[in-house]
């Protein structure tokens, strides 16, 4: 019986996979070095395995393998990513509407690239760093001088129709 032998056995015994033999137990009682090591090891013994539906998991993995999908970043599977893309699309529409708005009041007011009030409560769930990512995707394009934006009177009937559809949904 050596300290090395006992040391190698400790993780397994701590995990409940095996038990000390009488000889080992006697050594453990007599050897201070081994007893101290045992105090360390058994404090880190494995916790219970989590409850996992292994049948379902196996079916999911096999299904994905069968489909031959690509490895994807877990981050790209996060729901808030979809929110970002949705928000980016909404912002594009908002920006387009903002650019088309100068006829209102007819004054030479600079068109601010402000975001339309959004109705996306999902944003509330994002962390600050994630909101910064969202904002980065919304970086506005430089707004053209007001003079170059067509006035409502310059639009054709078809363009007016499209504009109304955008505004009225």
């Amino acid at each position: 019986m050596t300290d090395q032998h006992l040391s190698e056995r400790m993780p397994g015994v701590a995990a409940g996979e095996s038990a000390w033999s009488e000889l080992e137990a006697a050594h453990l009682e007599a050897c201070r070095e081994c007893a101290t090591e045992w105090r360390v090891v058994r404090r880190f013994a494995p916790v219970a395995e989590p409850a996992i539906d292994t049948e379902r998991l196996a079916a999911q993995v096999v299904s994905r393998l069968r489909q031959g999908g690509e490895v994807v970043s877990l981050e790209s599977r996060r729901p808030w990513r979809r929110v970002i893309w949705g928000l980016a699309a909404a912002a594009s529409v908002a920006l387009a509407v903002a650019v088309w708005r100068p006829w209102i009041g007819g004054t030479e007011v600079a068109v601010a690239p402000t975001r339309e009030p959004t109705m996306l409560p999902e944003l509330d769930a994002l962390f600050e760093a994630e909101l910064e990512v969202v904002l980065a995707t919304l970086e506005p394009k430089p707004v053209e001088p007001i003079g170059s934006v067509p006035r409502i009177g310059d639009l054709t009937d078809d363009e007016l129709e499209l504009l109304l559809q955008d505004v009225e949904g």
Binding site: V41, E49, I52, A58, V61, R66, L74, R77
Partner: protein
């Protein structure tokens, strides 16, 4: 061909999967999912993350078999992929390790002095873990907390079994020094 027997070794099941046997892949998932789940939870995954992380780990393991050395334990390969996944996941937070230090001294709750001493031992071990090198800490936890052998640890951490053994014994020595 369908071989899905739980009596087969991991290597045999991998070979069967490579030969087109989906049931062999399913058997490997069933065999390793729980221990891998326990590892992921110990590294900061939440219960709600667990399914995604497990599915992704197995998927990447099967899809990336070209990167697996066949003489290395398959479970070590799984742990390596899982470790990379959680590392990527928590990169912004610098990684997280959750230590569960058990009440291993069978403290008599009616004895406040013994309880206090047990708390002190746990605290000393926590402090001791912080002083270990990342490799020592990871090897120690894979060995003691996850029950991997040195070959599996070597496969998980891309090192040799001999080096893993040395790291483990250094870690144990330093933790022992912490105890009264």
């Amino acid at each position: 061909m369908t071989v899905a027997s739980d009596d087969l070794t991991d290597s045999q099941l991998v070979a069967a999967w490579r030969g087109g046997d989906e049931a062999a892949a399913a058997a490997l998932v069933r065999r390793h999912a729980k221990v891998l789940g326990r590892y992921l939870l110990s590294r900061g995954a939440t219960s709600s993350d667990l399914d995604d992380l497990l599915q992704e780990t197995f998927f990447r393991a099967f899809r990336g078999l070209d990167g697996w050395r066949e003489d290395a334990p398959f479970r070590g390969w799984l742990f390596r992929i899982a470790a990379n996944l959680v590392r990527d996941r928590f990169r912004r937070g610098g990684g997280r390790v959750f230590l569960e230090i058990a009440d291993g001294d069978q403290v008599d709750e009616a004895d406040p002095a013994a309880e206090l001493e047990a708390d002190e031992v746990a605290e000393r071990l926590r402090e001791g873990m912080v002083t270990l090198s990342p490799m020592q800490r990871e090897v120690f936890l894979l060995r003691v907390e996850q029950g991997l052998d040195y070959q599996e640890i070597a496969a998980a951490l891309e090192t040799t079994a001999g080096a893993a053994r040395v790291h483990y014994h250094h870690a144990v020595k330093r933790l022992k020094e912490r105890l009264p």
